[in-house]
């Protein structure tokens, strides 16, 4: 009970719950349509999804300020790449929220002449840019960690001493003299990289969660902007998964990726 009260006291938490519910409705609506459910039920699900979508827009009012504040804070990061990625991501998020506010004003009748389609496209574009910057930052973090892991491994091999000669022996038979050996060698290297990546991600849950969340979120603007048509089922599923992952980081703050 205490955990729930503390959790739902954050306005972001309620927004994430609404989002999870919205995409769950989207997924459910798609499933019902495919399995030939009654039109009445489908209409009801669609209506609920619409209400959730509009409700979330109100919950997001004022988030632009928060995003700008985050961008301002990110400017002070020491790492140049991180500074760039995170700052630009937050700025795009601020613009996304601003567009979202305009859409809300249009839908609620405050500004009836708002071109919904145009502003929706704009909002999704900024959202897409934000996600791309997030994923770039994730990729950079992964590369740094992989390099660290490789350095640690090399150091361990050097200390043991036996590994060095073993390595030399391995390279010997597969030397430049054998032209056919390049392909298996490439496959081996690729597999090693994959294993290293898996190891790095397993060792850093916050990073893994952030990658998964951003990757799932990516499908939403891609579909809406027509860049990659996934269909409402996939979008619903991805939205639901990313919302649940967001809720996880709110419940367990140690799972949040620190800049």
């Amino acid at each position: 009970m205490d955990a729930w009260v503390r959790f739902s006291a954050q306005s972001q938490a309620r927004e994430r719950l609404c989002r999870a519910a919205q995409y769950a409705c989207s997924l459910l609506g798609h499933a019902l349509q495919r399995h030939g459910a009654s039109p009445e039920l489908q209409k009801q699900i669609r209506q609920l999804e619409g209400h959730l979508s509009l409700g979330r827009k109100l919950l997001r009012l004022g988030n632009s300020t928060d995003a700008l504040e985050s961008a301002k804070r990110a400017v002070h990061l020491s790492d140049v790449v991180l500074r760039f990625c995170i700052t630009v991501s937050h700025l795009n998020r601020a613009l996304y929220f601003a567009c979202d506010n305009v859409l809300w004003a249009g839908k609620s009748g405050l500004a009836p002449r708002v071109d919904q389609e145009k502003w929706a496209q704009r909002s999704f574009r900024y959202y897409l840019f934000s996600l791309i910057m997030n994923l770039s930052r994730d990729a950079y973090e992964i590369r740094l960690l992989m390099e660290q892991e490789t350095s640690a491994y090399s150091r361990r091999m050097k200390v043991s001493g036996v590994g060095v000669s073993g390595g030399v022996e391995t390279v010997g038979p597969g030397g430049p003299g054998t032209p056919g050996g390049s392909l298996p060698q490439l496959a081996l290297k690729f597999r090693l990289r994959i294993l290293l990546l898996a190891r790095v991600l397993r060792g850093h849950p916050p990073l893994l969660l952030d990658v998964l969340r951003n990757a799932c979120d990516l499908f939403i603007p891609l579909d809406k902007l027509g860049l990659w048509r996934c269909g409402p089922g996939i979008v619903g599923l991805c939205g639901l998964i990313s919302s649940i992952l967001s809720i996880l980081t709110l419940i367990c703050p140690w799972l949040r990726l620190k800049p």
Partner: protein, 246 residues
Amino acid sequence: MDAFIRVANQSQGRDRLFRATQHACMLLRYLLESKADKEAVVLKLKRLETSVSTGRKWFRLGNVFHAIQATEQSIQAADLAPRLCLTLANLNRVVYYICDTVLWAKSVGLTSGVNREKWQRWAARHYYYFLLLSLVRDLYEILLQMGQVARDRAKREKSSRDPPKYSVANEETEWLQSFLLLLFQSLKRHPPLLLDTVKNFCDILIPLNQLGIYKSNLGVVGLGGLISSLAGLLTVVYPQLKLKAR
């Protein structure tokens, strides 16, 4: 800026902001309704009020658990009178939120067989009881504070050794002045109590109007709602202004 973000990050803070907006629209609408050339503005204010009112239901979802927790906490209060008032008040708040959730389910089309009018009346009634009991608790706290101030004053008078002045003329007026002075000093000494009393007093105008017990115009309800929302916001911004159970 930081203060705003801190407020906006709490769902209660954000809800107060939207509530203040809602009731400000109501007040403005009342003030502008008589003007002939302001019809477009009045219509926009009405739309904004409706949108914010509908949207605020999202903030209240799940608040039933907060109210349940508050009920559990109020049972722990040491003093019997506040314990009773607060517990009953919070129980009414729980029922109010349940009614509110049912109304929300109706508005989004999840339930079809719900009588909106009936549930709205129930929600308003329990909200009214909640506020009434909160005011009773406030009154009790005020009386305690007044007693304290009176005792402090008596102590001070005793030490000063001034001869007491008696005047037969205007006895009633003097008593009233004395009472009001005492009340003023009590509330001045205890800002959380003043804030809570003002908030509850302004809030109670809303269900009184809805239930038809005391009919006010749109302006009074709007103004009351605005003042109570701002008072509520103050307690979110400055947690030390929140009235604690003794």
